[in-house]
């Protein structure tokens, strides 16, 4: 994004995503959007609202209810020269499509030595915090981040959502684009008008500080920012790093910050064991252990399915109090 004064408009995250999709459809006739309820209805979260009316039912269309079919269809469209942008209604319903992702989406370029490639984007709402029914709050990003050949992007602000989505659509390789349900309407800010891209693979410093680095993404950025404010009130300087893309991960920004602060707290709402937070922790341990003044601490969900029990849902998802406690723990170590 350039620093010149571009006109902006205040938008929610879901409006920014809608704006990006409209710009992509407008700018590139090969872009096609499809999935369950994306057409007439405009998606269950309204991310594709109005797009079918504007761009026609050939370019924005409802598919039958079949996720393997949706991803498989996109693979074929991508092979044959279109730009498929598929929506999976909730990340927790991606699972029927995992065969297509694991067997094909991630390895087409490799298995044809780049004769074929898949410029496909799969968008999926993910994460908790809004009392959804069973399986609607999953955070399966680590599963995707473990598949060679697919990129994983998770924005945390409306402006980033727009810029990163336009980058994802322009990218020649398959990109999973996870959107935190909690942020769709709660995150609101001035978003630049018109077309711009935010490059994949570049983390963002949300706050700067000298004492602790908190690494997070998506729905956890807002939580960590609030924890950082609380810590600052106690004289602790917190650097919040928003990864923005998990694959490729911006290790340089993470390591530079940890080398400066000497302390790392890694936060995500996914289950604890083998989460992407573990990858971040391992990278820090490998590359910057001599700079650490305290053990790396992870603040995560738990090794249980995301609870569908509304009254205790908030126990699972890290909140500012839990993150602030971890910050104090590494500072006091």
């Amino acid at each position: 994004m350039t620093a010149t004064a571009t006109p902006t408009r205040t938008m929610t995250m879901v409006a920014a995503i809608n704006d990006a999709l409209a710009l992509a459809l407008e700018g590139d006739p090969t872009v096609h959007i499809f999935g369950e309820d994306v057409g007439v209805m405009g998606g269950v979260f309204r991310a594709t609202d109005g797009l079918q009316a504007r761009f026609g039912a050939e370019r924005v269309f409802d598919t039958p209810l079949a996720e393997a079919g949706i991803v498989g269809l996109g693979i074929g469209m991508g092979l044959a020269g279109l730009k498929p942008v598929a929506e999976i209604q909730f990340a927790g319903f991606l699972y029927p499509a995992l065969d297509q992702v694991l067997s094909h989406l991630g390895r087409y370029r490799h298995r044809t030595r780049s004769r074929f490639h898949l410029p496909m984007v799969v968008r999926a709402p993910y994460g908790g915090g809004v009392h959804t029914p069973e399986q609607h709050a999953d955070s399966p990003e680590a599963i995707l981040a473990h598949v060679p050949g697919v990129k994983v992007v998770i924005p945390s602000t409306p402006a980033d959502a727009k810029g990163l989505l336009l980058s994802a659509i322009a990218d020649p390789d398959p990109v999973f684009f996870f959107e935190a349900i909690k942020l769709y309407r709660s995150a609101k800010e001035a978003v630049p008008e018109g077309h711009y891209t935010t490059p994949l693979g570049q983390a963002r410093l949300v706050t700067t500080g000298d004492d602790v680095t908190v690494i997070c993404y998506g729905g956890m950025v807002e939580v960590c920012t609030r924890a950082a404010e609380a810590a600052r009130a106690h004289g602790i300087g917190v650097e919040v790093v928003d990864l923005r893309t998990l694959v490729p991960m911006d290790t340089e920004t993470v390591l530079a910050s940890v080398r400066k602060t000497g302390r790392a707290v890694v936060v995500s709402e996914a289950p604890r064991t083998n989460g992407f937070h573990s990858e971040v922790s391992a990278t820090i341990a490998e590359e910057a252990i001599e700079f650490l003044r305290a053990p790396i601490v992870r603040v995560t969900g738990f090794d249980a399915p995301y609870p569908p029990f509304t009254s205790v849902e908030d126990v699972y998802r890290p909140n500012p109090v839990r993150v602030a406690r971890a910050i104090r723990e590494v500072v006091r170590y």
Binding site: E36, D37, G39, V40, M41, G42, V44, D62, P64, L65, A66, E67, A68, G69, G92, F93, Y95, P96, H131, T132, P133, E134, Q135, H136, R272, T273, F302, D303, A304, P305, P307, P308, F309, T310, S311, V312, V315, Y316, V321, R322, R325
Partner: protein, 362 residues
């Protein structure tokens, strides 16, 4: 079983009118095949079940609006499809319901208080009674179909005559799992009854966008199993075809696919706004096909039911519901650490550490 007309229907057209369907009791009171009807006691029992589950559906909405229930997918208008099918089972048989099938689970015997607890997102609703072979409402679409085949196969391998019955929607029948399950069941002779409730919509997607097929029961042909298309708002007919399919399965004649043609008059869930995708014209005529009023009119005309007996039934159903609601109100809220229960038979060291963490943070 009397088969419906299986002549080819041109693809890509609207579904055929409902009077082409296998039917016993038409909306206007016309009757067909009286020799095949269930006995009078069964007719009354089916009526009672429909009234009971309709009451639940109506009360659930009020409870939702007053914040006493979570997101609830209503089934009002589909009572005949759920009661006629579930009532054909005994509690030795298996029931695999989706989120839409609260009425079927209640008919099968899931206690009202537990059912309320489920939709209140209380763990007490996930604790399935040990004397029932009913699974929690399936949220991911179509995944229950292969499970039903497996349960049915297990029963036959164990030498019982028990069957498994599973529900799916018209949308769900697009998923691969649906097709794999039908094929497995046929190939393995599993005593399975597949109910495909075609209620016209998968959230905003009408059946004609979902598939070019108009007769979904004919999909059974591709797997070598019988398929039956029935008026899903005629409880006598749905009961008959399901009972026949259950009998066939028990006798070792394998699986059946039953398409119940019905309609979702209500929204997908209360969070859904159907005005975005359908007009009043789409709903036209469906109120007149209402399964409950249809059977009530017949029972009254036939002298099987009196106005007084009907009023007494209403009071009985209301009393049962209010007692169950009081029972559900008394279920305690879960403790925070309960979110870690029931992950493994024995908690792993990691889970034990995480439990200590939650308890320390309380």
């Amino acid at each position: 079983m009397t088969q419906p007309d299986l002549s080819p229907i041109p693809p890509g057209t609207e579904p055929p009118p409902q009077d082409d369907l296998f039917q016993f009791l038409a909306p206007d009171g016309t009757t067909h095949h009286p020799e095949l009807w269930p006995d009078r006691e069964t007719q009354l029992s089916l009526y009672r079940h429909m009234r009971r589950i309709r009451h639940f559906d109506e009360r659930a909405w009020v409870l939702y609006r007053t914040g006493r229930l979570g997101v609830f997918p209503p089934y009002g208008g589909m009572e005949a499809s759920q009661v006629g099918t579930a009532a054909a089972l005994t509690n030795e048989d298996w029931l695999f319901p989706t989120y839409r099938d609260t009425g079927a689970a209640l008919t099968y015997g899931l206690p009202v208080a537990r059912t309320l607890a489920y939709w209140r997102t209380s763990p007490h609703g996930w604790a399935m009674p040990g004397n029932l072979k009913v699974l929690p409402f399936y949220i991911p679409i179509a995944t229950q179909y292969p499970h039903a085949v497996g349960a049915a196969l297990a029963e036959s391998r164990k030498g019982t005559q028990n069957v498994a019955l599973a529900y799916i929607g018209d949308g769900g029948s697009s998923e691969g799992d649906f097709h794999e399950a039908l094929n497995f069941a046929g190939a393995l002779d599993a005593p399975c009854v597949f109910i495909l409730q075609n209620n016209g919509w998968a959230i905003s997607v009408p059946t004609r966008t979902q598939t070019r097929a108009v007769n979904l029961a004919r999909r059974a042909d591709g797997y070598g199993i019988p398929g039956v298309r029935v008026d899903g708002n005629d409880v006598l007919a749905t009961y008959h075809v399901t009972a026949e399919a259950v009998r066939r399965a028990r006798e070792g004649d394998g699986p059946t696919l039953i398409e119940t043609v019905t309609y979702r008059i209500k929204p997908h869930t209360l969070a859904d706004d159907p005005a975005r995708y359908r007009t009043d014209a789409d709903n036209l005529g469906w109120a007149e096909k209402d399964p409950v009023t249809r059977l009530r009119a017949h029972l009254l005309a036939d002298g099987l039911l009196t106005g007084d007996a009907d009023a007494a039934l209403t009071r009985e159903i209301e009393a049962e519901f209010e007692a169950a609601l009081a029972e559900a109100d008394a279920y305690p809220d879960p403790t925070p650490a309960e979110i870690l229960d029931h992950v493994f038979a024995e908690p792993t060291p990691q889970l034990l550490r995480q439990r200590a963490q939650i308890e320390a943070e309380e």
